[in-house]
């Protein structure tokens, strides 16, 4: 930490307030606009605060495709997160505590995938999905989302298992428990910080995932929010509805962030520094 004199402290505060405004203003603006009646949204000059607060925009959501978009996003996110948590905590344990011949090479390949832009993979993934009939299905988005979010999740879980001292497992070994039992009963509970972090990060990534969905969900009924809403823009320019849906779609990740922010920020920083 730097100790600084009063004047530069004041300047720092000024700069940080401006920055905080820049980052928060768009979100606050959409939140306020979602409570405006349509004529206020299009009013020139506008008033930033709604003059007549209304929930009309939220009432409009009920019908139509938006409900379907929400369902798709929820199903895809929940399923992907469950799969990623299970698979990454198994693999992370394997890499951290049970190295096998070639495990470093496999780990390197997995880390390497982090630098591959999805653009390269889209065509073969599309062709595969087309061949097995997974285009425009939720499962067809769950599977590649799991694959794409796994590498980082594995790194987080590996770091967590590595930091658990060997002695912890000894009790289990003395009981003659097999590796799988030790993983499930002893190691996994010890690595719960990692599990929480993987759950949160994976939810964010899948909840807002755009590229795979844009490519693989061709039928509007199968689209998640991230892609479906961008169509809303083209259809009617119904800004009130748009604002309300954006608020609802953004609220879950923001609430999770508010509750877990220490864990998330520290976790990402540590994972990145160690990794």
């Amino acid at each position: 930490m730097i100790k600084t004199p009063l004047l530069s402290r004041l300047l720092s505060h000024a700069a940080l307030v401006v920055l905080a405004l820049f980052f928060l203003a768009p979100l606050i603006y959409i939140l306020l606009s979602s409570f405006k009646p349509t004529e206020e949204i299009f009013a020139v000059p506008q008033s930033i605060l709604p003059m007549n607060w209304t929930l009309d925009a939220y009432r409009e959501i009920g019908g139509g495709r938006v409900g379907q978009y929400f369902r798709n996003t929820t199903v895809i996110t929940l399923s992907s997160v469950i799969l990623v948590v299970i698979l990454s905590s198994l693999a992370g344990y394997g890499f951290a505590k049970l190295p096998f011949r070639g495990s470093n090479l496999v780990l390197l390949a997995i880390v390497g995938t982090l630098t591959i832009p999805l653009a390269i993979l889209l065509v073969p993934i599309f062709l595969m999905a087309n061949q097995v009939g997974l285009l425009s299905t939720n499962l067809g988005l769950i599977l590649p989302n799991v694959a794409v979010t796994l590498p980082f999740a594995i790194l987080i879980m590996r770091a967590n298992f590595l930091s658990i001292p060997l002695e912890v497992e000894e009790a289990g070994i003395m009981d003659g428990a097999g590796t799988f039992t030790r993983w499930r009963l002893i190691m996994l509970p010890m690595a719960r910080n990692g599990v929480v972090l993987v759950t949160i990060i994976t939810s964010y990534n899948v909840w807002g995932e755009y590229i795979l969905a844009k490519t693989l969900a061709m039928n509007p009924d199968s689209m998640p929010l991230s892609v479906g809403l961008t169509l809303l823009k083209g259809e009617v320019w119904d800004y009130g509805l748009l604002a309300a849906v954006i608020v609802l779609a953004t609220l879950p990740p923001i609430i999770i962030f508010v509750f877990f922010q220490r864990k998330i920020v520290d976790g990402i920083a540590q994972g990145a520094v160690k990794g």
Partner: protein, 320 residues
């Protein structure tokens, strides 16, 4: 849990089997069980990343229109040659570099500056940090829609602030309908969405600097900017390698922002390479050509990441 003393030996041999020097110790089976733990995850990564990587490499050497052709036809490096004679590809490549350059430089400078601001003992520090970080959890495509709205010429927030609040109506613009300001809008959205992440990484780097180094600097009377340039920055080299690698990746695989905000327009002024790959593959179904352009993008990213790594790792090594 009961502990029996005769198990001590098995513990010791287990410990031994864990050390990487003896992967084929007496407890060989314990060691190879790691393989079964990794396998399920690896299958996913293989099917959806490693195999497609190879498949795209092959497709990039073929002519394959998904609608007309029954099978990919091998044509060697023709697609790569075609790409560099294709004005649309060149335009999208240039646009990607323009975006990438401004985005990357601004990302590094701003994130580092914010991290340095947050590194002070200030009140409301936790609030500032959260405010900077929060855009990261907002789905990017939805953030794009929010920015489209804010930049809308008639009832958008930005023109309202400039024209009516600040009273300078001559400076209002149709932001997304002009080439330069459209690219600017895309860059600002990308920065808005990602500065928080890089700031957190820089902050973690600053916090991991040895306390003794900081105290010694204080004793030597290094203050303010002097301290920043001569003490803090040289100690951030490793963090920089990390953040720059991430920044290069983000900069060159820009896609969602122009897709949602401008559709590459006006004209082709914000058409980026990633978008061109997508359009070629899924609007024109030219799978072979799209794969080749995707590979070119991947190679550019790889070269820049390796260069960045060599440049800054090398220096860190020389300085000890």
């Amino acid at each position: 849990m009961s502990a029996s003393s005769q198990a001590q030996t098995s513990v010791r041999s287990f410990t031994k089997s864990l050390s990487r020097r003896h992967p084929k110790g007496k407890k060989g089976r314990t060691v190879s069980s790691g393989f079964w733990f990794v396998l399920p995850a690896f299958i996913f990564i293989f099917i959806f990343m490693l195999y497609p990587l190879v498949a795209a490499g092959y497709l990039s050497l073929t002519e394959y229109n998904f609608v007309y052709d029954d099978e990919p036809k091998f044509i060697g490096l023709q697609n790569y040659a075609d790409a560099f004679a294709d004005p649309k590809f060149i335009t999208s490549l240039i646009n990607t570099f323009v975006f990438g350059f401004f985005y990357f430089v601004a990302l590094m400078v701003l994130s580092l500056s914010i991290a340095l601001l947050l590194f002070q003992k200030l009140r409301f520090n936790a609030f500032y940090r959260s405010a900077v970080f929060v855009p990261l959890v907002v789905p990017l495509s939805l953030a794009g829609l929010i920015f489209v709205w804010i930049l809308q010429p008639n009832f958008g927030l930005l023109n309202y602030l400039i024209g009516d609040v600040l009273g300078m109506p001559s400076l209002t613009q149709p932001w997304l309908a002009q080439a330069n300001t459209a690219m600017g809008g895309i860059i600002v959205l990308a920065l808005w969405a990602t500065i928080g992440f890089v700031t957190v990484l820089f902050l973690a780097g600053l916090q991991s600097i040895d306390k003794d180094v900081l105290e010694a600097a204080d004793l030597d009377g290094a203050t303010g900017l002097k301290k920043v340039f001569f003490v803090l920055l040289p100690n951030l080299r490793e963090t920089y390698v990390l953040t720059a690698t991430w920044g290069i990746l983000q900069a060159l695989k820009v896609f969602v922002e122009p897709m949602v905000m401008t559709d590459g327009g006006p004209g082709t002024s914000t058409l980026v390479l990633y978008q061109q790959v997508y359009i070629t593959a899924f609007n024109f179904f030219d799978m072979g050509y799209a794969s080749a352009m995707g590979y070119i993008l991947g190679l550019i990213i790889l070269v820049l990441i390796v260069l960045n790594f060599l440049l800054f790792r090398g220096k860190a090594g020389r300085d000890g």
